[in-house]
Amino acid sequence: MTTDDTILRVEGLAKSFGTTEVLKEVSFTVRKGETKVFIGPSGTGKSTLLRCINQLIVPDAGRVYLHGEEVTHAGARINHYRAKIGMVFQNFNLFDHLTAIRNVEIALLKVKGMKEDEAREKALFELRRVGMEDRADHYPAQLSGGQAQRVSIARALAMDPDVMLFDEPTSALDPELTGEVLEVIRGLARAGMTMLIVTHEMRFALSIADELLFMEHGTILERGAPGDLATSPTFERTRQFTGRFADL
């Protein structure tokens, strides 16, 4: 399972909030260029899992390794690892006081220590990649949800991350705006980006995933190639969940 092209290794992650066990011993490895998609009902720990990977939520137990280096218990080095783990949020979380391009630049300047013109060039490149170059000087309040999410993807990409985490990237968008965001993510998959995606967009999940992981009650109930999981799931529960979408 662990080969040379393993980028991320997650071992036995567990997290409870009070008496609620949100994650129970979740483990998996991610190879370079792989796209893993996490599906499952709301409140089954998918978002918590992503946040435990970059330690935005500190797990109670378990370990995360990026390129074999332990991210958990990293102390102050955590900032170094987070810079290599891109994250895209459900609510975009663009910095509201900065224009689109400044949003993309700021971590290049403050975290990577780039020079102004170097950062500007890189930011423009990333905005072009998500088709937002012409909105570079717009503030978040002046962008549609789909545009804002594309800028937030550019902001994460600008750091040249080893892996990208997508936490329900289209859940806050109107149906007609989800397409443009999903198209950008598809482009990243084609370009060989390593990605973990939490989504409720079943058709998108089936089409983009190298591996589909069905989560329920804080565990990975079932995992496999998307075709297998959708057509011949082992568990009745998975069938119920994916079946609902197959009917659509």
């Binding site: 663009l94 910095f95 509201d96 971590a107 503030y139 309040a141 994460a156």
Partner: protein, 225 residues
Amino acid sequence: MDLAALLIDWLPFLATGVLLTLGLVIAALGVGFIIGLPAAIGQVYGSRQVRAVINIYVWFFRGLPLLVLLFLFYFGIFPLLGLGGVSPFLVGAFVLGLHGGAYQAEIFRGALLSIGEGQMTAARSLGMSRTQAIRHVILPQALLIALPGWSNEYPTVLTDTSVCYAIGVTELLTRASVIVSTEYIAMPIYLVCAGIYLVLNYVGIKGLHMLEKRVSVPGFESGSD
């Protein structure tokens, strides 16, 4: 009538009073900002001990009438520290600054708390330290949000300066009273004094509104949510 001539005679005397009043305003807003902003950051992001100290400071300076604070410092604390020779103006500026800082801390604290959790989360996810996130992401937004409330401190502080009369700061009101007791005419002089306060108030508020317009960012316009 010779009121005009009388006023012209006293004009330099009153003008100096205006300057001292403005000096107190600037001290109150400036010292208040220098104390209030870090105090607010400490209240929101500090350790429990830091928060406790700041809470005591805010409680003390908001809990006492300004006049009581002035008496306490001018007749009590400064002499006790061997600083009895410090001018009333400096004591007044000091007290107004600490007093204003406590109020400004509350303004900035509210602004800091109004910023969504997601901003900090996003900043940290990019590899910023907590300090970097506060400095480059949270604080600029908090200042934009706080500006209208902060501007509101100006008229409050301007009118507060007149209380320094009680410890003998020769600001506008003190000088107006000197003229009254010298010339034995009260009403016209106090009306002039009131007019000067109103003009200073108007000009300052206009200036602050211009500043608000100048730094406004889409999504942070005052009055918008």
